[in-house]
């Protein structure tokens, strides 16, 4: 038709629209806030791992050096401060994925659909597929990078206290377990995908915000419930006089009495006057020993990786669903096909 387009066809292959640059420009405030949060969290975690742990360890050393009956001067403030800062940082890190879900639902997709600027983008040279891919890929990179850094620093801080601070949390303590490893990163990515999906499905910013937070909480609950079962547990049977094989040393899967024939029953109540009395009652019931299925410390990484894999699978599912919703919203995704019916 016109000379301009003819010569453009003769020129070099098509330049691609610079979607990444505009995504960053539009969500600049969110990026700034995220970077500030990551930097602040990293600084606090470094402070926790260094000076605070040292001060608390010194306090515990003083406390343990005391004998029983002496008056004991020890640095209680340092110990309490360590405990408070550790708890705050752990809970804040665990809450980060929910913040990501809220932002993704409200600002990333919900507001764009509500105000019509998504359509503006689709008629200005970005296909819907490209639009959503950019919107998922770049924030996923930022979220994964930031959360991974914080999780790594948290693990480092926790390891620094291991053995030196008596009241440091165990590896299997609920919040510590998750903020020490990749499950929090995987949850953050699943939260991003869940938020993008609810924003597209609901089309309005504030409802999408609320629903994506609730959805992420549901995903979290599901992952918690499944986690002990995602890796084969270690099963021990000990004699009735001994008690459980490994109490308070790992993630419990099942506990009870082992019965003849191989199975196990839940621990019944026993109100005898002595230990032998209970053992006798249990034997009458057919028990042959204590049954304990648990995950010891060596299962830390398998559990982390399988739970992360589960969460990433959910993230992939949400992403697929988001593309399906996008197809329904815009009629067609690709701009490369020729004339078809």
């Amino acid at each position: 038709m016109s000379a301009a387009t003819a010569s453009a066809a003769v020129r070099a292959p098509a330049a691609r629209p610079r979607t990444a640059r505009w995504l960053l420009r539009l969500h600049r405030p969110a990026l700034v806030v995220w970077t500030a949060l990551v930097i602040l969290g990293a600084a606090l975690l470094l402070w926790l791992a260094g000076p605070l742990t040292d001060a608390a360890a010194e306090g515990w050393r003083q406390y343990n050096a005391c004998k029983w009956s002496e008056k004991c001067p020890y640095a209680q403030d340092a110990i309490l401060r360590y405990k408070d800062v550790y708890n705050y940082l752990t809970l804040s890190l665990a809450a980060l994925p929910f913040l990501v879900a809220a932002w993704a639902g409200a600002a990333l997709t919900g507001r764009e659909l509500e105000s019509g600027t998504a359509r503006l983008a689709w008629t200005q040279g970005i296909t819907p597929v490209r639009w959503l891919v950019t919107r998922l890929a770049l924030p996923a990179a930022a979220v994964a990078a930031g959360t991974s850094l914080l999780v790594f620093l948290h693990h480092r801080a926790w390891s620094a206290a291991d053995g030196r601070v008596d009241t440091a949390k165990n590896w299997y303590d609920f919040w510590t377990f998750h903020t020490n490893g990749p499950t929090t990163v995987a949850l953050a990515l699943a939260a991003l995908a869940a938020g993008a999906l609810t924003g597209l499905a609901l089309g309005r910013a504030l409802p999408a915000l609320a629903v994506s937070v609730v959805l992420t909480a549901g995903v979290w609950g599901l992952a918690q419930w499944l986690m002990p079962h995602l890796w084969p547990a270690v099963t021990r049977v000990t004699s009735l006089e001994h008690g459980y094989a490994a109490p308070y040393s790992g993630v419990d899967v099942a506990k009870g009495l082992a019965i003849r024939g191989g199975g196990h029953i839940p621990e019944p109540e026993c109100y005898a006057a002595t230990t032998e009395g209970c053992a006798r009652i249990f034997r009458e019931r057919g028990a042959v020993g204590w049954f304990h299925a648990y995950h010891p410390a060596s299962h830390y990484w398998p559990l982390q990786l399988t739970t992360s894999a589960f969460l990433l699978a959910l993230a992939a599912l949400f992403t697929l669903a988001a593309f399906r919703v996008l197809r329904r919203l815009s009629g067609s995704l690709r701009a490369g096909k020729g004339a078809t019916a």
Partner: protein, 298 residues
């Protein structure tokens, strides 16, 4: 490269599984290079039609070809301005235009876009959220025209503009059409304005196409006749509207043969044509350029 800018066969769109039909059984053909007015009452389906053509909605039934391919495939060559003119409130005017340039790297015409914005005059550093309705329309049009589209779809573009701006932007659009052969499809309420600039008409009422074709052809196909009230004899022709006021009978008809002597006949104005069809939805539709016909030689 097809000669048809926009063609529809049996096009229908329903929102949701139990909603009403926004468009039903629409068929028309718009040749390339025309300036087409889409006219109709509120809720007739004009916005839906334009959104379908822009590739933003999938049709429920029927077929729609844009520039010879599916609407989605043609999106790069189509410019679209929605009725609420969505823009990013936090960007400045200059950034909005730069975004347009970045997103359409090989097709962007910075001069045209800049000229439209400068004629405002608009401060390039002003944020979109601080602009008035008319100024936002100007920026939205600049974005659409800067893309150098082959087909331009405008949903009530002149709604927010003052008469001077309307006149000026209309002139810009017509110049664009003349210079680059852009096909322009514009929906509006104000028929009188369109009469001078548009050469093609699409009248949509209640989700159906009532009139489609070149305005000259459509006007030539109708006659406004008037005569005494008692006089009959219009049954041989297709009667669009028939009104009796006092002792005078006025009717708009599509003549199927010669009229009697007592009738006074004249060619209707576009406004009379449109109003008559809108007032009488039961009148049969007239499509002088139906889809799925062979391509006529240019």
């Amino acid at each position: 490269m097809s000669d048809t800018a926009l063609g529809a066969t049996g096009l229908g769109k329903r929102f949701g599984r139990r909603g009403g039909w926004a468009l039903r059984d629409c068929g028309f053909r718009l040749p390339a290079g025309r300036v087409c007015a889409v006219v109709g009452p509120n809720g007739a389906g004009k916005s839906t039609l334009l959104a379908l053509a822009a590739g933003l909605l999938p049709p429920t039934e029927g077929r729609l070809t844009v520039l010879g391919t599916t609407p989605a495939a043609a999106r790069a060559r189509v410019g679209y301005v929605a009725q609420d003119k969505p823009l990013y409130p936090q960007l400045t005017v200059a950034e909005t235009l730069r975004m347009g340039a970045d997103l359409n790297p090989e097709r962007w015409d910075a001069e045209t876009a800049g000229r439209i914005v400068a004629a405002g005059p608009l401060d390039p550093k002003a944020r979109i959220r601080s602009l008035s309705g008319g100024q936002r329309t100007r920026v939205a049009l600049a974005l659409a025209l800067g893309k150098r589209p082959e087909l331009l779809l405008l949903d009530e573009p002149m709604a927010d503009l003052d008469p001077l701006a309307r006149h000026e932007l209309m002139g810009t659009l017509m110049a664009e059409a003349a210079q680059h052969g852009t096909t322009i499809v514009m929906s509006s309420h104000v028929v009188a304005e369109l009469e001078d600039s548009c050469d093609h008409l699409l009248l949509v009422g209640d989700g159906r196409v009532r009139l489609a074709g070149e305005i000259d052809d459509l006007l030539a196909a109708h006659l406004r006749v008037s005569g005494p009230a008692e006089k009959a004899g219009l049954d041989a022709h297709t009667v669009v509207e028939d009104r009796v006021t006092g002792r005078q009978r006025t009717a708009l008809i599509r003549p199927a043969g010669p009229l009697g002597d007592d009738w006074r006949a004249a060619e209707p104005t576009l406004e009379e044509l449109v109003l008559a069809h809108l007032r009488n939805p039961q009148a049969p539709a007239l499509t002088t350029a139906p889809a799925a016909t062979e391509e006529s030689a240019a």
